[in-house]
């Protein structure tokens, strides 16, 4: 008898293990990450139909930024306001998010609503895994009108938008330390490229790293710096023509010139020598420790800088952008800006779920959300209606001013195909260490562009 029981147990165990692996993994049942499930019991004017809404995002970093803080508040409000919706949420950190989201997509098990960036859209649309976002947004009254102009540009595919943005701001912000600049004999942030290069030499001579850069993740140099230098050498139309296949090429003279200029800056010691082995968090450490005079980051860095920088460094910190290059075709006030990530909706939702998703998107991207984001020193995709300028930190006011003065242009790595982005990222490291020429870098990027035309 005992033997039969043990045989039974062993067989159950082995089948159980395999069944666990084979089972259709529901996003919401994943307990390996911070998963919350809540069904509010309070009654309200919400529709009576009971629906389940699975949400997958990356608002789960230890360094709480403006979006995370605001999302947290709006999520709780959503759960309280819609008791008929069983809200199943999974949030994991940014770097792991992309891999897991792509794994869900590959297995055709995407959650109802999830974050994505523009480059992921063509694959998901071609596989009929996500739906157009406009009809969903139209289900939430007043939502569409609240968005700023151009915030859907990163999510367009065949002239239709596929995600709802929650942020929009410039990617290129030079955080510079006024005290170090003064110590090096520079009174203000240079207004010409020639003066800027001169300032770098003066900073170097005093033993500081001119610009701290953490390019281990491969995107920092390309997305935050190189992108701007290209816009200083070429007009925005060049990029639009390249993206839309209207004759512009990476190998065009001005782009090669811009690429060689960036390589020259690296060769001349503008950046720390370990730029490819530290990340963008560590680049801030160099700046906070006053070893570097500048670092370059997206708008999302303002809140962490305000919270983490030592008081004297924060006081001396200002925000600027690269000046215009004399004689080049690009303008000095163009700044690449992106919504970057947005909320996408999977196909095959019931009508009740679509209503729930529309409401969720209103809570997670709309005007109320925008007001919170501004209060938390971020830049939302919707137009905020309440801006308390009196209580704003000085650095955040500078960010808003720079945003107002800038002409926004697309960010390459948000819009171009993954193979092109990979070439731009990986080869950038070689360009920066001098093992690849600017000509070769541009040629390889163009080869990847040409592959997508076939």
């Amino acid at each position: 008898m005992k033997r039969k029981i043990s045989i039974g147990l062993v067989l159950c165990l082995s089948f159980g293990i395999i069944a666990a692996g084979c089972g259709n993994s529901n996003v919401a049942t994943d307990t390996s990450t911070s998963t919350t499930e809540s069904t509010a019991s309070a009654s309200s004017a919400a529709p009576a139909e009971k629906v389940t809404l699975s949400v997958f995002g990356m608002f789960n970093t230890p360094d709480a930024d403006a979006n995370l803080k605001s999302f947290d508040v709006m999520k709780k409000k959503f759960v309280a306001d819609f008791p008929n919706v069983t809200f199943k949420e999974e949030q994991i950190p940014h770097d792991e998010f992309e891999t897991k989201m792509k794994t869900y997509a590959a297995a055709n098990e995407l959650p109802n609503v999830f974050e994505l960036k523009g480059t992921m859209i063509p694959g998901l649309v071609d596989n009929s895994q996500i739906v157009e976002i406009d009809p969903i947004i139209a289900m939430a009254p007043g939502l569409k009108e609240g968005y700023k102009a151009g915030v859907f540009d990163d999510f367009l595919y065949k002239a239709k938008a596929y995600a709802a943005p929650f942020q929009m701001g410039n990617n290129h912000n030079v955080f510079w330390n006024e005290e170090i600049f003064k110590e090096c004999g520079i009174d203000a942030f240079p207004t010409t490229w020639k003066d800027f290069l001169g300032a770098i030499e003066k900073i170097k001579a005093k033993g500081y790293v001119p610009i701290a850069m953490g390019n281990k993740g491969k995107w920092v140099a390309e997305s935050l710096i190189y992108n701007t230098i290209v816009y200083r050498y070429a007009p925005v139309d060049w990029y639009l023509n390249l993206r839309d296949g209207k004759g512009a090429k990476w190998t065009d003279t001005e782009i090669v010139e811009a690429t060689n200029e960036f390589a020259k800056m690296a060769k001349n010691g503008t950046f720390n020598t370990d730029m490819n082995s530290i990340d963008n968090i560590q680049q801030c450490t160099l700046y906070y420790n006053k070893k570097a005079a500048m670092f370059i980051e997206g708008f999302w860095a303002v809140d962490p800088v305000c919270a983490e920088a030592p008081a004297d460094v924060l006081k001396a910190t200002h925000i600027a952008q690269f000046p215009a290059v004399e004689g080049a075709k690009g303008a000095g006030n163009v700044n690449q800006a992106a919504a970057g990530w947005g909320w996408a909706v999977s196909s095959n939702l019931s009508d009740g779920q679509k209503t729930a998703v529309a409401n969720f998107i209103k809570y997670a991207t709309g005007v109320d959300y925008a007001n919170l984001v501004v209060a938390n020193r971020g830049l939302p995709a919707s137009k905020p209606t309440k801006v308390d300028k009196a209580s704003m930190p000085a650095l955040y006011s500078e960010l808003l001013k720079l945003n107002d003065e800038s002409v926004f242009a697309p960010v390459f790595d948000v819009q171009l195909a993954p193979n092109v982005v990979d070439a731009l990222y990986s080869n950038m490291q070689e360009l920066l260490i001098g093992s690849m020429s600017g000509e070769k870098y541009c040629e390889l990027a163009q080869i990847e562009m040409d592959k997508n035309k076939k």
Binding site: S6, I7, V10, L11, L13, S14, I17, I18, G21, E98, T99, K102, T103, A105, A106, A107, N108, M120, G123, L124, D126, N127, S128, Q129, K216, G217, K218, N272, T273, D274, M275, N276, S277, I278, Q282, L286, K291, P418, N419, D422, S426, N427, Q429, E430, L432, I433, S435, M436
Partner: protein, 295 residues
């Protein structure tokens, strides 16, 4: 009279081996066949899959990045085999010898990294290699070697060496334990006799110990070669394949193709390529070491 061990019944075999065999088939063998199946398609995830026959394999044969990554793997294999198996052998000789004190302490300390996750090892070493705050450069400053201070993970000319060092040091303990077990199984009488015949410790090592543990040595090399072929986590954390692609290995390439570029079918093709290359390298290392056992 020694009590004869009862031979287990077939059902007992099935019960004990069944669960683990089922797991092995499901998690190791089945994915190989699934990958092979996907490698004949053009698939970026989701429902749409287009049969492309051998097109992925044709591309793989001409893919410079694949072969460059394979070359990086081979360099790491050579360094790890020399480092892990060689150091493991030397350390095991030292720990067996009579002169060394605190043997258990040394054994524990050397073996400890084996049980630590590769991600942790990679992260610790990325801190140690840090140019400004790392232990390596701090130590060089301490002993007056400022001229030797380098950005250890930023130069392609020595990057393979710097990423291999953590892998070598992590697994020395594993081979040390294997060799110590093998050396202890050599009958003491042989050493005693050789001692009486006038052998010194070095001669004992070369003429008795090494030939007697040659089979273990071969197994160690096989494990080292096959284990290093799948190296991934250390490099992902240390350099993410950089600078450029100079420390990219095959597993990292397959991962990048699958999840960065979303070419899941070509990623599967690379995985099959890794399998074939691993088999070739492991079998050729076995052939090179010879099948004969020292008697």
């Amino acid at each position: 009279m020694a009590k004869k061990l009862k031979s287990p019944k077939p059902l007992t075999f099935v019960l004990f081996l069944g669960p683990i065999l089922a797991l092995f088939l499901f998690m190791v063998v089945l994915p190989i066949f699934v990958s092979a199946y996907y490698s004949f398609f053009d698939w970026t995830g989701g429902k749409t899959m287009n049969f492309t026959g051998l097109a992925n394999y044709m591309e793989l044969a001409k893919d410079r990045e694949f072969w460059m990554s394979a070359w990086n793997n081979i360099q790491i294999i050579v360094l790890c085999t020399i480092g892990q198996v060689g150091l493991g052998l030397v350390v095991s000789f030292l720990l067996i010898s009579r002169g060394l004190k605190f043997k258990e302490f040394h054994r524990t300390v050397i073996f400890f990294p084996v049980v630590v996750s590769a991600i942790v090892i990679g992260f610790v070493w990325s801190l140690m290699y840090n140019k400004d705050f790392g232990l390596v450069n701090w130590f060089l400053t301490l002993v007056g070697g400022e001229k030797l201070i380098l950005p250890w993970l930023d130069n392609p000319s020595y990057i393979i060496l710097t990423v291999s060092l953590p892998i070598v040091l992590q697994f020395v303990g594993l081979y040390m334990i294997m060799f110590m077990g093998a050396i202890k199984s050599i009958p003491d009488e042989i050493f005693e006799c050789s001692g009486l015949d006038g052998c010194n410790e070095l001669q004992k090592s070369f003429y008795i110990t090494l030939p007697m543990i040659y089979d273990t040595f071969k197994v160690a090399i096989m494990i080292c070669v096959s284990g290093t072929m799948k190296v991934f986590d250390h490099i992902l954390v240390l350099t993410n394949g950089g600078p450029g692609k100079s420390s990219q290995v095959l597993a990292l390439y397959a991962y990048n193709i699958s999840f960065d570029r979303m070419r899941l079918s070509y990623g599967s093709t690379i995985a099959i390529g890794i399998l074939v290359l691993s088999l070739l390298i492991t079998l050729s290392s076995r052939a090179a070491l010879g099948g004969k056992r020292y008697e």
